[in-house]
């Protein structure tokens, strides 16, 4: 039986395609790089889609703005409408938001604005804690709400926001914020650096109402190896990392793999 196939959509300037493919394959799925130069219609042959991180079109005009206009995104929108899963990570999330696939699948309803950080500006990178929320999102719904996942983030424009001051809260109430930035005690993080961008509602990820399209700013594909977790990560995951390092099992699965397993469960039924 052939494996479900996931297209890793590569716009020029994307730079996380290799590790994204590796995470997909580790979850028992087939991964294929799909460059922007291929006919858009060929995307229909795939079962799911991943838009990796990087700097598509060098972030010209605005992060994700130019890739969002590509005809590939029209096909992705159609396939998402049919229920196929789409995961956008970091720059991929920016593309999904600028293309309107999240949170509505239509009009542009959100922005990923510049980070708001005290006494600093621009790009910022660190490991953060994210908390799984009750949601129908296909990538996280197999996880217990409240589960903490340490993941790395690295971006300059990652603040989920809307002109409508109630929009983000409404998304949270509707189960469309499946991951929130969290403090060490598990509470949603409002302040820097636990909430590294100043994202409204502490949102680290936003999905569409159906739950099959997820835009997330942290990088799960960079947390696929347990041995790669930062030394600063404590708690259960930190203990597992220390055991892995002592036992020489540095490539045991890390927290980021849980989202890819969610995708595999959905695709394999």
């Amino acid at each position: 039986m052939s494996l479900p196939r996931v297209a890793v959509v590569q716009f020029p300037g994307v730079n996380c395609e290799a590790e994204s493919e590796r995470a997909i394959e580790r979850a028992g799925l087939g991964a294929e790089r799909f460059r922007w130069t291929r006919p858009a219609g060929e995307l229909r042959d795939f079962d799911a889609f991943l838009l990796p991180g990087g700097f598509s079109y060098q972030d010209r005009v605005r992060a994700g703005a130019l890739a969002a206009k590509d005809p590939l995104m029209d096909v992705l929108a159609e396939e998402a409408e049919r229920g196929k899963p789409v995961l956008g990570i970091c720059n991929g999330a920016q593309v999904l938001v600028e293309a309107g696939l999240v949170p509505n699948g239509g009009a542009i309803d959100l922005a990923l604005a510049r980070n708001q950080m005290p006494d600093r500006d621009g790009y910022f990178a660190r490991w953060v804690l994210t908390r799984v929320e009750a949601s129908g999102c296909v990538f996280t719904r197999h996880l217990e709400p409240g589960t903490l996942l340490p993941l790395p983030m690295a971006h300059g424009e990652g603040r989920f926001t809307s002109r409508d001051p109630d929009r983000m809260a409404a998304l949270g109430r509707g189960g469309q914020i499946p991951l929130r930035y969290a403090a060490q005690d598990g509470r949603a993080a409002k302040d820097f650096p636990a909430n590294p961008s100043g994202a409204e509602e502490s949102a680290a990820a936003v999905c569409n109402a159906r739950g099959n399209v997820l835009a997330m700013m942290p990088h799960p594909e960079r947390a696929q190896d347990l041995g790669g977790l930062a030394r600063t990560i404590g708690g259960t995951w930190g203990g597992s990392r220390d055991q892995a390092l002592v036992g020489g099992e540095t490539q045991a699965e890390g927290p980021g793999m849980l989202l890819f397993h969610g995708l595999a469960r959905y695709l394999k039924g």
Partner: protein, 202 residues
């Protein structure tokens, strides 16, 4: 208060000397994927820096801008300075300008510190992006249609959920970034503004 009353405004219009890849890409994408793109004949991008405070004479303002690394690189960029509404902006009569600013502000604290260090005078410095558009057979709403992002086939230059835009009607205002004046303490607070672009007319 007296100093604020006497404040002058300087606008620095900064543009790459070579072709601007960002403007080239924006024009290509607009023409290829947006209905309004068929009527976009040209697109330029400039950084607009506005300095408000007790400013010296034009020659000295230009010299300060030129010699600092805070504002522009004279080896690869050119800079045109406006100090009075009658001074021309580097925009042709066939072009129209739209200003894009981040909703939460576009302050340049490092530039403000540098200016005060050099001159002893406190100033406020803001920066935005001015897109200069040349349209062929323009229809009334073309500039707004090119600017405000509403969907995959509508708008490119401004995502209204994180940015504001101001369309210049006729002469470009001076000030433009500092209009309307905002109190210093309002920096971190977001301003509530209409989703449609603000039209600046003089």
């Amino acid at each position: 208060m007296a100093r604020r009353m006497a404040a002058k405004v300087a606008q620095a219009w900064i543009e790459l000397r070579a072709d601007d890849p960002e403007a080239v890409s924006a024009l290509a994408v607009a023409r290829a994927h947006l209905p309004v793109g068929a009527r976009v004949a040209g697109l330029r991008r400039m950084r607009l820096v506005e300095i408000v405070g007790a400013l010296p004479a034009r020659e000295q303002v230009e010299s300060l801008l030129h010699h600092s690394t805070q504002f522009y690189n004279p080896h690869k960029e050119r800079c045109a300075v406006r100090l009075a509404p009658a001074d021309p902006a580097p925009i042709e009569s066939s072009e129209r300008a739209v200003l894009i600013v981040e909703r939460e502000g576009s302050w340049r604290p490092a530039a403000e510190r540098w200016w005060r260090h050099e001159t002893g005078e406190p100033v406020e410095v803001r920066e935005g992006t001015a897109w200069v558009v040349r349209l062929t057979n323009p229809q009334a709403a073309d500039l707004e249609e090119l600017t405000l992002v509403r969907g995959r086939r509508h708008g490119l230059l401004c995502n209204p959920h994180s940015q504001d835009c101001r369309l210049a009607e006729g002469t470009v205002p001076l000030p433009w970034l500092h209009d309307p004046p905002a109190p210093r303490g309002a920096r971190a607070a977001g301003r509530t503004v209409p989703a449609s672009p603000k039209r600046s007319a003089r």
